[in-house]
Subunit: 381 residues, 2 copies
């Protein structure tokens, strides 16, 4: 199988990730931060080491500013619902995934004012539009770092300068960029950064988190046992306990830590270059096929390794079906949980066929997919 | 190491659990319910099979009534915050874990009226007290099935008859009983049942869920991508999508499914008998030591395999420390995230030393621990 659905979940995982999960279950399978016995301490150490690895990756000084969740969706719900109150104004974009758009819609119904900035047909946004949209009651800009539909990288650094200058919080959905682009939370001026473990961090599904800058104090989504200040009914104020109730996904976090160490040992630069080579080769081939329409920037220097296309006149699901059945190529069709993005690029009616690459894909695979697409197009009625 | 902290997390896990997790990551490592390609369908099948296994275990007719979460804490937050509105009245007990008590405390501050029924010094509750506490605005009884401190099993069936007769919802925290006691959601008349995967269901940490009876419609904790009705900003109403946003912990759920198949193949009756034998042997030995105070019913027929003790005059953490360092016994000291329970049994000042057993513990281990306790007591100043 040629797996090109890495924007959903990267596959395969590094052997290190799988080994760390198994090792954790076998040798550190107790509750972290709860008991005082040796295996509980080992479990606690694993969680802490992963927290440190995430902090190092995002250039966060204090690892306790990293809160673990089950996925980026939970992180965004925590950031948005924890921060925004009725009467507050929030600015977002027209490229958002439902993980951002649906909680914002719920908040809007509760009295939060939401401005959705229109992105260009390739999915990007003029930073000036953000500055123009800021009002007296604007509390936050909540925006994705790169699109899961077109791969378009948004101008987060410029937006961060604007939010910082205006005393507005910046909430970034880094689901598609964490582990792929060099994210420095201070350079970007991001106040809360949501990430997931199972994409370009090469951890397992069931892991994710949120960076919360010191001084930003959202309400927790959940309260419960934290293994700390147990005598009090008040949720502890300390980080990360305030936001981490109940037993965490320790083996998952072991795998996430191994995934991050894997990408850091390869080097983000070298991974980015590898994936840019694949995307460039893929785009070059696609551009030769006149039946293929490419969405997004079609420029590997300003997009993550996600390429959306359509075959003229064809439904996206039909093409993905043929590629799976006849060529054993796993890609994804439809709306990718991001209807706003499809409205922006003009594909709300039929979605797109999306190909997304990881460090494990090869130029040979790209050529095979191009050939498969050519043959599919040729055989269409 | 003798591991007796199974009420926190069972360890070791069955080989089947570990194998299922690895197999899922290697061979079904895509997103369930999102793509149409073969590996995405395999992932979807795993999640569905685990949902079926949970449904079968709890005698739930329709598997979609089972919603997956990260742990019992998240399940209880969802059940309580999703259901209770300001002005509603909820009845709870004085034995609750902070996973129940802390979200109820937050709700109380938002205007929900909370009645905490006082349990007996062994941790049980007279069902009549529930009937007496029901008022016009009572919406739910929210109560644990068995105590994580004393092991005491609460009279849930009797309480369920009372709630059903009075048109009040019953929310049960089954963290300590799922997989251990025979839970039939219809016999118990439970409306929402919270469970965790990493205790007596022998799955990994990072898994859990909530049974939600048809007709009970809490608000979701999170909204986001569900892979369904993606064109709408409204969270889908369908079960389980309404409550499951973002990529789930598929490998964790693979492990949970294997864990449930493991206990079902052994038979809940036979597991219960095994653990009752261990608890009976342990209690018998403890009763010979005049320095030891036992909490809870001290009767294996009415408790789960959790036994809390103190050595007269000693801090619980000191005893647990000696058992770990000198005898390589992993138990747990302190409040076990359940201060109300300790207030009820009179140990809020120093906690208890808690021993909890799993299917993998043996009578020889029980004897070793009894011997270690005897020697520890003998050497105390």
């Amino acid at each position: 199988m040629i797996y090109l659905d890495n924007a959903a979940t990267t596959w395969p995982k590094p052997e290190e990730t799988i080994a760390a999960i198994e090792d954790c279950i076998r040798h550190a399978g107790a509750n972290p931060g709860r008991g005082g016995h040796k295996m509980s301490l080992s479990a606690g150490r694993i969680v802490y080491e992963t927290r440190e690895a995430v902090a190092k990756l995002f250039k966060v000084d204090d690892p306790v500013r990293i809160v673990f969740t089950g996925n980026a969706t939970e992180s965004l719900n925590l950031a948005l619902k924890g921060l925004l109150k009725p009467g507050d104004h929030v600015i977002t974009s027209s490229m958002e995934h439902n993980s951002m758009a649906r909680p914002l819609y719920v908040l809007q119904k509760r009295g939060v004012e939401v401005t959705q900035l229109q992105c260009s047909p390739t999915g990007t946004l003029e930073p000036g539009a953000v500055a123009n949209a800021i009002k007296k009651n604007t509390v936050a800009v909540a925006i994705l770092h790169a699109s899961n539909v077109t791969g378009t990288i948004l101008p987060i650094e410029e937006i961060g300068r604007i939010t910082r200058a205006n005393g507005v919080f910046l909430i970034v959905d880094a689901a598609q960029t964490a582990g792929l682009l060099d994210i420095d939370v201070n350079r970007i001026n991001v106040d809360m950064l949501a990430f997931t473990g199972h994409k370009s961090l090469y951890g397992p599904q069931g892991t994710g988190g949120l960076f919360i800058r010191d001084g930003v104090l959202p309400e927790p989504l959940c309260q419960g046992g934290t293994g700390s200040k147990s005598e009090s009914l008040e949720q502890p104020e300390d980080m990360p306990d305030r936001f981490e109730s109940g037993t965490p996904n320790t083996p998952g976090l072991a795998g996430l830590g191994a995934g991050i160490r894997f990408i850091m040992s390869r080097g983000l630069d070298s991974i980015r270059k590898h994936e840019q080579v694949l995307v460039a080769r893929f785009l070059e081939g696609l551009k030769q096929m006149k039946e293929i329409q490419i969405y997004g920037p079609a420029d590997p220097s300003i997009q993550v390794p996600v390429v959306s296309v359509n075959v003229r006149g064809q439904d996206s699901s039909e093409i993905a079906f043929i590629l799976d059945k006849a060529f054993d190529i796993a890609c994804r069709s439809g709306l990718h949980c991001a209807p706003a993005a499809h409205r922006t690029i003009g594909t709300l009616d039929r979605g797109t066929v999306r190909f997304s690459f990881s460090i494990f894909n090869t130029p040979t695979e790209v050529d095979y997919v191009l050939d498969a697409l050519e043959r599919t197009v040729a055989e269409l009625p």
